[in-house]
């Protein structure tokens, strides 16, 4: 049988996952010295790591070309999909929040609000929950610019410490939902390779609990 294939979100989540793998005894030398390779063996060949962009991790896992994946809850909330979300890995903690220029009352007035966001679906759903009609504008880069330039009344974005907001004269109006890295599993893999997947998940879970 082919190795368990795990898609990791490139960057910080990848580093944290590799650390976690090493703590539970998997040799990750090949990942640490990866060069430009995107598919790398871990341990003694029973696991294979695939490096991908966050949203692509969901796609690969949903289609079953990767059995498991590590991805932020932010990506899951924005893109959705059909897979199992089995473990909160505890790292990559931050939150989605609505922010607006500090000192102004975001909800004041009768004019429909405009929200800039990299996460239009999250933004839309949040305001739908409030029965509020809003206009969402998708922004790809630094979303903080949009209210500063007068394009939007507020932003929906990931907030970690709030420093970037503060430096740009913005403040959190409301927290939307906490975020952290998640371990996801393809539905068919979960059923066909139950033992391997459960064993790995339990090891990771125990290690996370130990650290906490």
């Amino acid at each position: 049988m082919r190795p368990l294939r795990i898609a990791l979100t490139k960057g910080r989540l990848e580093e944290k996952t590799v650390e976690l793998f090493e703590r539970i005894g998997y040799d990750c030398t090949k990942v640490r010295e990866k060069g430009r390779k995107l598919i790398l063996p871990v341990g003694s060949g029973e696991i294979e790591v695939v490096l991908a962009k966050a949203a692509d991790v969901l796609t690969y896992v949903e289609h079953g070309v990767c059995d498991m994946g590590v991805v932020g809850k932010d990506t899951i909330l924005e893109h959705g999909g059909h897979f199992f979300e089995v473990l909160d890995l505890g790292f990559g903690r931050c939150r989605f929040a609505l922010a607006a220029p500090s000192g102004c009352d975001f909800y004041a007035g009768y004019a429909a609000k405009t929200i800039a966001s990299k996460y239009p679906n999250v933004a839309r759903r949040f305001f739908e929950g409030k029965n509020m009609d809003i206009r969402v504008i998708r922004i790809e880069g630094s979303v903080e610019l949009a209210p500063l330039l007068g394009l939007s009344d507020g932003i929906v974005d990931i907030v970690e410490t709030g420093t970037t907001l503060k430096e740009n004269g913005l403040a959190v109006v409301e927290d939307i939902v906490p975020i952290s890295a998640r371990l996801i599993v393809n539905a068919a893999s979960m059923k066909l390779r139950k033992q391997e997947i459960e064993a790995l998940t339990e090891k990771m879970e125990a290690e996370i609990a130990k650290k906490a």
């Binding site: 079953g64 999909g81 979300e85 539905a187």
Partner: protein, 396 residues
């Protein structure tokens, strides 16, 4: 304006040659198997009134149905589900038939999916419905048919069985709103342990909450029943569990191995019309279930003719995709028949004779024998029959 006259809509595709051959083969195998089990074929229209599906909790959102209107402005949809139209048909056309009624169908189903995810909007479903019968015998018949169908089409498979009442009877014991209950169901369906904890933590240590918390992890072999027996509370839940166990053991006695059948108590399908046993099946190299099914005893009531029923559908396109990886059907004609000028009619007679022998025959439309021979060579045809006064067989 851009004309979209050279491509097909997103989520649809042309099916060519080998894929057609494989798909027809899969369909023929399933049709002859179901016919041998006394199921009779029915066809429902590709277009149905939207009202047929309205308010039925099929798990298909209205926005995911392809809709249009008829000449009178009434809303119609392209068939978004297989079971509901069959239920409508059985309740309105077959209410006087002696029961049980065994039906099978083979048709495309249309759903508009999120773009650019690689999902098909047009999928082929082949399935059966066993109507007018409830109880162990009927459930066993449906699941064993599913197993046998997969055995014939793909060989290796794994069927998982669960029961809609496991979740329902536990949910009844939780003091939560309808919305929270649905959130819990979604968390269990997606085996989202973290979210499930968030939802259940506020409820304290109710036994039903503790059982609910374990639900998504309760899948596997016979050991699941042992663990569940300790966790589950309430006479009704235990009864459901006992029934599922009887079913599981009967399937094992039928010869299904622990590789082929497993239990998943966290199987809470999106189709809320399921009322009893639910099952789905997975095969290697396919990222999603290739078969879905279950018991839906209340569905026909909606059409004025209450009747218990159980059924399942196989994703023929998925099976075809898998079989394409495994087999190489012959695509090259066996013989090319070329008739010289003036002998065209005789040439066709000869061709018919070969075709009757179940050989694949290609009729040469070329003027000269040289052209015919060159054509046979490029196509990889091994034998040419030249027809004139006499009939000449040439092997290449």
């Amino acid at each position: 304006m851009k004309r979209y006259n050279k491509i097909t809509p997103e989520g649809t595709k042309d099916v060519l040659f080998r894929e057609c051959v494989v798909r027809r083969r899969v369909e023929d195998e399933l049709a002859s198997f179901f016919a041998a089990r006394s199921y009779r074929e029915v066809m429902t229209p590709g277009i149905e009134f939207y009202d047929v599906f309205e308010g039925l909790e099929t798990g298909i959102l209205p926005e995911n149905m392809y809709k249009t209107t008829d000449q009178h402005g009434r809303l119609v949809v392209l068939r978004p589900d297989s079971t509901v139209p069959i239920a409508r048909l059985a309740a309105t056309r077959l209410q006087n038939l002696p029961r049980p009624i065994r039906l099978f169908y083979n048709h495309p189903v249309y759903r508009s999916n999120v773009q650019l995810t690689g999902r098909s909007d047009e999928t082929d479903e082949f399935g059966i419905e066993l109507l007018g019968a409830s109880g162990l015998k009927a459930d066993l018949e449906a699941i064993s048919c599913a197993a046998e169908a997969l055995e014939r089409c793909v060989g290796r498979y794994r069927i998982e069985i669960g029961h809609a009442d496991v979740f329902r009877s536990l949910a009844r014991r939780l003091p939560v709103s309808e919305e929270v209950r649905e959130d819990i169901r979604v968390a269990i369906e997606s085996k989202n342990y973290a979210e499930l904890s968030n939802l259940l933590d506020p409820l304290g240590d109710l036994p039903a909450a503790a059982a609910m918390r374990r639900l998504p992890r309760l899948f596997g072999g016979a050991e699941v029943f042992e663990e569940a027996a300790e966790l589950m509370c309430g006479e009704d839940t235990l009864q459901t569990l006992g029934y599922l166990r009887t079913l599981y053991e009967a399937l094992c006695r039928m010869g299904l191995s622990s590789e082929q059948v497993m239990v998943d108590l966290g199987l809470v399908q999106r189709n809320n019309y399921y009322t009893g046993v639910v099952f789905s099946a997975y095969v290697e190299d396919w990222g999603d279930a290739v078969l879905f099914g279950g018991r839906y005893d209340n569905l026909l009531e909606n059409f004025g003719c209450p009747m218990p029923a159980v059924g399942f559908s196989v994703r023929v396109d998925a099976i075809t995709g898998l079989r394409m990886m495994q087999e190489e059907p012959a695509d090259v004609p066996d013989v090319l028949v070329h008739s010289d000028a003036g002998f065209e009619a005789r040439g066709l007679q000869v061709l018919n004779k070969y075709a009757q022998k179940e050989l694949r025959c290609d009729n040469s439309l070329f003027e000269s024998r040289e052209e015919a021979r060159a054509y046979a060579e490029t196509q990889g045809i091994k034998k040419i029959i030249f027809v004139s006064d006499e009939i000449e067989e040439v092997c290449l």
